[in-house]
Symmetry: C2
């Protein structure tokens, strides 16, 4: 019984196949022609020795990591799996591997040992990287794509996100036009949340477009969270502020709104119409079913990878990709069921 056999290297393969390591490398990577018979011998040798190239060595020698990094703050939320799914699929389709980093919620200026030479490019989700860090990386020409984050002035990094504003505007317009609502509450997401900011803009523009005033008392915090949203709504109720509809910011908040409204004996949608954003699974199961906006999250991931690949390959990229959102009309806005 020999001691644990050291695992084979390209040299062993070369020796067994009776060729040089260069040739072995060539058949592995298909980088240049090799006589079929020779190639076959090499392939056999690889199989026999169960040779697996050390990617570290490949990376070091070739100066390309074949790896994409995905950096985000938190693995949570209903849409995360979709995002990852898209990213993963596209990454694989492009022949890359996926390295996942998470960073603490508050993007301090940590030295970010990641990135740079250890991935060929980085996908940055929302504000998981500080502006500083972003600028530094971007300045060195390192391929970077932002997801769900819009231009911080003068930053030339491609970004892909969804049409938050447009979706929100259509949603609110629907409330106004089809259901005659005029005093519409808006529940903000967490402070500094990009998506929320754009949805709010859509909300305001929809009101403006219909000549409705914006009552700032109707805009309060939902935090994209059921509990917070419920509490905020209750406060509104108690304060006796009048409203006939709620745009909850996202679906989770909408659930909280449902709770608070039901607890207060207000009927949905007769007394108050409620709409959300995201179209989580729950949306079509609660009573009444929730009118909301569907966003192509998976496609965001996919598209971001595509842009990143173009960047890596030196092809021209889209500075800003806005993926269209889709209104999902259900019952909670006042529309009849089964539509």
């Amino acid at each position: 019984m020999r001691p644990v056999a050291k695992s084979p290297t390209i040299i062993d393969v070369a020796r067994l196949a009776g060729v040089s390591t260069a040739t072995v490398s060539r058949v592995i990577n298909g980088t240049s022609a090799v006589v079929p018979e020779t190639a076959e011998r090499v392939r056999l040798a690889i199989q026999e020795l169960r040779f697996v190239p050390r990617s570290a060595a490949q990376v070091l020698a070739s100066r390309k990591t074949n790896t994409l990094g995905l950096i985000l703050t938190e693995i949570r939320g209903a849409f995360f799996p979709h995002l990852l799914r898209g990213v993963e699929a596209a990454t694989r389709a492009a022949g890359y591997q996926l390295l996942i980093y998470t960073v603490s919620d508050i993007p301090a200026d940590r030295p970010t040992l990641l990135g740079e030479h250890n991935t060929d490019g980085l996908l940055v989700f929302t504000s998981s990287l500080s502006l500083n860090e972003l600028q530094r990386l971007s300045a060195t020409g390192f391929p970077l794509v932002l997801m769900h984050q819009t231009p911080s002035d003068g930053l030339e990094i491609p970004m892909v996100t969804i049409e938050n504003k447009d979706g929100a505007e259509r949603l609110v317009s629907h409330l106004i036009e089809s259901h005659g609502r005029r005093r519409i509450v808006f529940l903000r997401g967490p402070a500094g949340h990009e998506d929320s900011a754009w949805r709010e803009r859509g909300y305001r523009e929809a009101l403006a477009a219909h000549g409705l005033p914006v009552d700032e008392r109707l805009i309060t915090l939902g935090d994209f969270d059921e509990v917070t949203a419920g509490a905020s709504l209750q406060r509104l109720l108690q304060a006796g502020i009048d409203f006939d509809a709620v745009f909850a910011g996202d679906d989770d908040s909408a659930i909280g709104v449902f709770r608070a409204l039901k607890a207060a004996g207000r009927s949905i949608p007769q007394d108050v119409a409620v709409v959300g954003f995201d179209d989580v699974q729950l949306a079509s199961y609660i009573t009444p079913t929730l009118t909301t906006v569907r966003a192509p999250i998976e496609e965001v991931g996919r598209e971001a990878v595509r842009q990143l690949k173009r960047l890596i390959d030196g092809q021209p990229v889209e500075p800003l990709t806005l993926l269209p959102t889709e209104l999902v009309i259900r019952e909670s806005c006042g529309c009849p069921a089964g539509h």
Copy 2:
């Protein structure tokens, strides 16, 4: 304007700090003592040059990748985010990076270029790797941990999963003992699905323990899928087979069962009690709220990483870790609300 400055290497740092590369390496990795002043000089040089070690070079030279691989078939399903969350957190806590692989659903004997020398260890989710592949890797002493997969005979790979059988047994026993149900349908998950097999075992044992016969006609396919489950149940109904409860295999199936039952005018839980497994978010929102079993999925991920680390470090590991499940009693089994 110079051409793009080549990014600095450890040599540049050494030169700037007036030390050898060995010393730089030492301060970077803290592998041996360095006089504080010297260390500081090195650190300054690193900062000034914005030096970032090439991990490929580190890996190649040190023979350790500091990377854990997670291999799975599909990024989907309600519990996936939890799993990943646990894995990611534990991975980071252990000082490793996370590489994610997905493989096509059918684990053919693909050459699996992953693993081996490109990660320090692999987390394998369910049957994403063929038994062959598993044996091969395991035989070379490569650190491997299985998640949601139980022993295939003679395979000495640590596994961590949840107490499916126990959970199912308690669930079914509850149906029998507290609600006097005797003809209980069981909806199987996809063929070959480990979790499902164990749940079925729990179902059978619960029946046996209460002296109830197993009517094979009551066991049919739910496929862990709403539509399939609904169709299966409808078939049962049409065939006029009598039953007073349904253990749906998982919560998604339970939703399908709800639909089918309501469509058929049967009331839940009066006519038919329904229970699921997983405790997805939806479970507490549907009407009636769903009695189910909660599994510590995140903890599975965490624990798997812990075991993997022990394996890598050559410490003794637990051959099988079964994480306890918890009964979540709600209304759909017949228990009063608000319990």
